[in-house]
Each structure stands twice: as structure tokens, then as C-alpha cells.
């Protein structure tokens, strides 16, 4: 069972017959090897290796643990890391490996043969993380691994030389972060092939630098099974935008951090139930002139496309853009949206009612504004130019809004209380409003609570929670 790792057993350890020897062993060492390995697999590799000096029984047990989590930084020098990896991934070893997580900060390790070994040993979860300074390439055996369920690659090179042999029948989760594809001419084809050869792919994350391509490249995501997609592009307005074409009929969660350039096309958005927007459609500001441009119609198309979402998360830039857009064009009705998480600038707070008008069935609202904004901290309020002024009360406040959660810590200043007041006064069926008090900054807690309790509540059953 120990293979090349023979444990020494000098005669002094044999106390009489083997049966009584077993009884004299402590309980944990009495457990059969697979159970001890099961216990050690719940530990980070570093701790599991510590047990090797407990007794001769434990000397090599950690090597049989089917999980490995290794970072080259936790070794005193890189050579030690390399020899450790060589030992663990020795080609003579055949025990099954379940999970491997490697963080490699320097060049020089024989990563290709390590990964080859894991594939032979039926790996299920592989997570390889390198740095921009290293240049490791994945072995081609990776692309037809039959047992792989989750593949997470960060800053490595992927070259699909021969497309005939790409098949990942069990991969459900794939994260491709800052991957360099073999050669640029190959990028589009390699990527498309990699994604479409995973018949049960459910979750895909793509992080990329926009400047990684010299000419406009298009990532084609074609998958019949994909449910969750997250795209994050590090923007660079100088270069041509990376394009995306997404064809995933079962897609239900979409998260985009991208400039949403003109080359971002999503076919069939009907299935999308949850969306997380951090994109500004390649625009800094939306003015009247933008309406008739292609960008304007793209925003319109996109908003119409996601009009059936049930859960939306939106960042301040996108919110600002949508508010500006809504001044020139009507927003589509988000008739199914029941949950909204919006981060916005203080100056955009006044546009919140307009946005909420297009969410008639909103049940739960999470609100975040800039906690350091000086505007919110002033106690005096200019009547002619109030900081916070809500012009209208949207339908959802009257008929469907049940939960409000203000994640920004407030200190009890007048503008902040005005926001709280707006919800308490107008929400007819509000069940719970959650606030967070900045205890350090709040001048007078008692008066804060007094003011809070004094606000008239339209909903009789409303619970006010202060964290």
C-alpha cells in the first residue's frame, strides 16, 4: 500500500502479538487508513503534513490524502516547492486525487507533468493559479480529462493545438481568468472549442484584460447547458473592445463588468433571471445626442432584453447612465423584478423614484450610497436646493415593497433621515427596514432613535431593525 514509501518498523514496536499491538495503539491510529485520510482531507495540506511526525504509522499517510492545496510562497525556497511537488505527483503513484489547488509564483516547476499525473489519477477539481510573470502551459491531456468536474485556471497558457481531441464530459464549473491562448490567431477558435466541448457546463467565469488582444477578438460562448455566466474585463478605452457573443438558452444568472462595447451580443435573454450590471456601454455620459446613436439603441436593446429579470444588482456608473438615459427615453418595465440591489451616488438619489417606477412588483430593495459623502453629513438643508428630494412615490412602494435594507452606515444626519423617512412614510406594506448605525460618528444616539421612532409609518406592521 505504501509503494515506494516504506515505513521503517524496527522490532521494538512489536509488543507481543499483532492483536494486542493494535489494542495498545491510541484510538485515532487504530482507524483504518482510508478513514484517517478522510480526516486529513478536511485539513489544509500544511496541517496534514504536520501529522507525519506523530508516529511511524502517520509518516506517509498524508501522501494518500486525495486533496492537495499548495502555495509556492509557503516554502522557504522554490526548489523545495518543486521537489515537494515532484514527490507528490510522482508518476509511479496511482492513488486517486480529488482536489488540487496550486498557487505558483515563480517559473521553473514541472507543472505540465504534475497536471498529467493528476489527470491520470482521476482528478475532479483542479485549480491552478499563476502570476503575470510566469509562463506555464497546460498539458494537452487536460482537454480530454474524463473525470474533471471543476476547472479553474488563472494566468496560464492554453493551447488547443488539435481540436479533434477536446472533450470534457463532466466539467460543470470553469473559471478562465486572464488566460493566454496559444497564439492570437487561435484565440477565438480555442475559446469557443473549450466552452462548447463541455456538455454539462453550468458555471463559467471569464476574466480578461481588454488590451490582451491587438485586434478585436470575439469570445463566443456557445453552450446548451450554461446557467451562470460572469464576465469581468479590465477596461482600456484605448484599444479595440473585446467582443462577446453569448448563445446560452438556459442562462439564468448574468454578471457583467465590462464596458459593454458594441460587440457584446447576447442571443435570447429570456431565461435570465438574475443580472449584475457593472457596465457603462462604453459611454461616459449619456446626453441627448446619444439617443440616436448606435450606442443608445444598444442600451435600449439591452434593457429590453433583461426586462424579465427577477433579481438585479446595479453599480453606480450603470445607474447614473440609466438615469440619464431615462430622461430621453422611457425605461422598459421590469415587471418581474422582485429584488433590487442598487449602489448609487448621492447626486443620483433623486432619480431613484423614476427608476423604481419601472419596477412595479419590487419586493425587496437594498440601497447603498457613498458613506463618505459630505452632502449626506450636513445637517442644514437648503430649502431651494435640497440635497435629498424625492419628487414622487412610485407604485411599488404603495403595493409591493416589503423589505428595505440600507447598507450604508448612517449617523443620523438630516439628509440620511430624509431617505429613511421617505420609505417609512410611503411604503404601505413595508414589513422590515434595516439600518446600520455608525456608532462612532453618531453625535447623539438617543436623539437618533427618538427621531427614528417619531417618523410616521404608513405600514402598521413595519419592523425597524438597527444593526
Amino acid at each position: 500500500m505504501f509503494g515506494s514509501e516504506k515505513s521503517k518498523s524496527p522490532s521494538r514496536r512489536w509488543k507481543g502479538s499483532s492483536e494486542s499491538r493494535l489494542e495498545e495503539l491510541d484510538r485515532i491510529s487504530q482507524l483504518p487508513d482510508p478513514l484517517i485520510c478522510n480526516i486529513l482531507s478536511h485539513l489544509p495540506t500544511k496541517d496534514a503534513v504536520k501529522t507525519s511526525v506523530c508516529s511511524a504509522r502517520w509518516r506517509s499517510l498524508w501522501l494518500w490524502v486525495p486533496c492537495l492545496e499548495l502555495s509556492s510562497q509557503s516554502f522557504s525556497d522554490f526548489k523545495a516547492f518543486m521537489s515537494f511537488g515532484d514527490r507528490f505527483f510522482d508518476s509511479n503513484r496511482v492513488s486517486c486525487i480529488n482536489k488540487v489547488k496550486l498557487d505558483i509564483y515563480e517559473d521553473g516547476a514541472d507543472l505540465k507533468s504534475w497536471i498529467d499525473a493528476t489527470i491520470k489519477r482521476k482528478i475532479q477539481h483542479l485549480h491552478v493559479r499563476c502570476t503575470p510573470c510566469t509562463d506555464y502551459e497546460m498539458p494537452s491531456s487536460l482537454y480530454n480529462c474524463e473525470t474533471l468536474v471543476s476547472l479553474k485556471l488563472h494566468e496560464v497558457r492554453v493551447s488547443l493545438v488539435d481540436f479533434r481531441f477536446v472533450s470534457l464530459p463532466c466539467v460543470k464549473t470553469m473559471h478562465l481568468k486572464y488566460i493566454r491562448y496559444g497564439n492570437e490567431a487561435n484565440l477565438e477558435a480555442s475559446f469557443k472549442r473549450l466552452v462548447s466541448c463541455c456538455p454539462v457546463l453550468e458555471e463559467l467565469k471569464i476574466f480578461a484584460y481588454e488590451w490582451m488582444s491587438r485586434r478585436a477578438q470575439v469570445y463566443r460562448v456557445v453552450s446548451r447547458s450554461l446557467k451562470k455566466l460572469r464576465i469581468k474585463l479590465e477596461e482600456d478605452f484605448e484599444t479595440l473592445g473585446l467582443g462577446f457573443v453569448i448563445d446560452a438558452p438556459l442562462l439564468s444568472c448574468l454578471s457583467i463588468k465590462d464596458s459593454l462595447s458594441e460587440n457584446f451580443i447576447i442571443n435570447n435573454m429570456d431565461s435570465i433571471a438574475k443580472v449584475d450590471l457593472y457596465g457603462i456601454f462604453g459611454l461616459d455620459d449619456f446626453g441627448e445626442a446619444s439617443v440616436v446613436t448606435s450606442r443608445g439603441s444598444r442600451i435600449r436593446g439591452f434593457l429590453l432584453g433583461i426586462s424579465k429579470v427577477r433579481d438585479m444588482t446595479i453599480c453606480r456608473c450603470t445607474f447614473k447612465l440609466i438615469c440619464q438615459y431615462s430622461r430621453f427615453q422611457p425605461l422598459p418595465q421590469f415587471g418581474y423584478m422582485s429584488h433590487l440591489f442598487v449602489t448609487l451616488r448621492v447626486s443620483d438619489l433623486k432619480s431613484l423614484p423614476t427608476f423604481l417606477e419601472s419596477c412595479p412588483k419590487l419586493k425587496s430593495l437594498i440601497l447603498v450610497w457613498d458613506g463618505n459623502s459630505k452632502k449626506m453629513h450636513s445637517d442644514g438643508d437648503d430649502l431651494h436646493n435640497p440635497i435629498i428630494h424625492f419628487a414622487s412615490v412610485p407604485e411599488c412602494l404603495l403595493s409591493s415593497l416589503e423589505f428595505v435594507d440600507i447598507k450604508t452606515c448612517i449617523s443620523g444626519h438630516a439628509p440620511e433621515m430624509k431617505v429613511v423617512e421617505y420609505f417609512l412614510k410611503n411604503s404601505a406594506i413595508l414589513m422590515k427596514i434595516t439600518l446600520r448605525l455608525n456608532y462612532y460618528d453618531c453625535a447623539n444616539e438617543k436623539s437618533f432613535f427618538k427621531i427614528l421612532m417619531a417618523i410616521p409609518r404608513r405600514s402598521a406592521t413595519c419592523e425597524v431593525v438597527v444593526l
Binding site: R27, T51, V53, R59, S76
Partner: protein, 191 residues
């Protein structure tokens, strides 16, 4: 007036109620009677016999959490007139395991189960090891994961191998030279 009929199927007791004419007052009486009737589900009972001769009768929904028992149930030749024999499990361990299975078969939120699990594993080491062996033999993955994680947490809480040895009473059978060599070999882990 109304009449009540009850039909019994394999594992379910159903109460079918038919009524012709209900007057308001009889309706009241009628509905009160219904609420006092217990709608019981006739579930199959499984008898398990431990290595020390005790018998435990439990619902099949609880017993089926053990894959080993599930296979035994499917295999006709396995059951004797006294129930299914479990050669490797003693009665006090089995009763603890049944406690776990009962809780995890009941309707409870994930948070509640987590809290309950945390309390469940606050027992002495010997019991934990008994539970590990039983969960392994009975193939109850949730219990096996829970107990192994508990032991793993104990190991992780130890600063070094000496503490691990002390916690679990492991005898150090290395010579000082052997130990030194091993520490050098796996030096990175001891930093």
C-alpha cells in the same frame, strides 16, 4: 348527515370524507371531529440488531439514510426474523447514530441543523471515533463528514506534532534521528 370512510393503502392512511347534506351546526361538529382524527402515515418499520444483541425498531425513512441498510433492505436474504444484523455496531453507538438520522430526517432549516450538529459532536473522543467507524460501516455520508471534520478541527487546533500526540495519546515511536530527518524532509510544513 354525513358518512366517513377510511381506506388503507400500502403505506398511507387516507381519510376520505363524503357527506350528503350538512347543516351548519353539523358542519361545525364534523370539522371538529376531523381535526381530532390523526392522519397517520403508515410507514414501514425496520428492525436493526446490534452486535451486543439489542434490537432497534425505526422508521424506514430514518434507516434509509444509511446506504448500507438501504442495500440490506433491497436484499431479501439479508433479513432474519429478528431484523437486520449489524455486526460492527454496538447498541449505544447505534442509538446515537439513530439520534443523528432522526434529526436530519426532520424538517429543519440549514442553520438549525448546523447548530444541532455542533452540539451533537460535543462528546468525548472515544465516542467520536466510534461514530466515525459506525458512519463508515453504515455509509452515512453526512455523519461521516461531520465526525471527520470534528477530528480534523482538533488536529488543526494543535500548534505542532507534539500537541497532536498529546491530544490523541499517540506514542512517538521514532528515534530522535528519524524524527529529525523527517522534519527536514517536510520542513516547509513546520515553518
Amino acid at each position: 348527515f354525513h358518512f366517513l370512510s377510511r381506506s388503507q393503502s400500502n403505506s398511507l392512511t387516507t381519510t376520505r370524507v363524503l357527506y350528503k347534506e350538512i347543516h351548519n351546526s353539523t358542519a361545525h361538529y364534523f370539522f371538529r371531529r376531523i381535526s381530532s382524527l390523526k392522519l397517520t402515515k403508515m410507514s414501514k418499520k425496520i428492525v436493526l440488531k446490534t452486535s451486543d444483541g439489542e434490537s432497534f425498531e425505526i422508521d424506514d425513512s430514518i434507516a434509509l439514510q444509511s446506504e448500507t441498510i438501504a442495500h440490506l433492505i433491497g436484499d431479501d436474504s439479508a433479513s432474519t426474523s429478528n431484523g437486520f444484523p449489524l455486526a460492527n455496531v454496538t447498541s449505544n453507538v447505534l442509538s446515537t447514530v439513530i439520534e443523528y438520522c432522526k434529526k436530519h430526517a426532520s424538517v429543519a432549516s440549514e442553520e438549525e441543523l448546523k447548530k444541532w450538529d455542533a452540539e451533537f459532536v460535543k462528546v468525548d473522543d472515544s465516542t467520536i471515533f466510534d461514530l466515525i467507524l459506525a458512519a463508515n460501516y453504515l455509509n452515512i455520508s453526512g455523519l461521516l463528514d461531520l465526525t471527520c471534520q470534528t477530528v480534523a478541527d482538533k488536529i488543526a487546533a494543535c500548534k505542532d506534532a507534539d500537541e497532536i500526540r498529546a491530544t490523541f495519546d499517540i506514542e512517538n515511536d521514532f528515534t530522535p534521528e528519524e524524527e529529525e530527518e523527517l522534519r527536514r524532509e517536510n520542513q516547509w510544513s513546520f515553518q
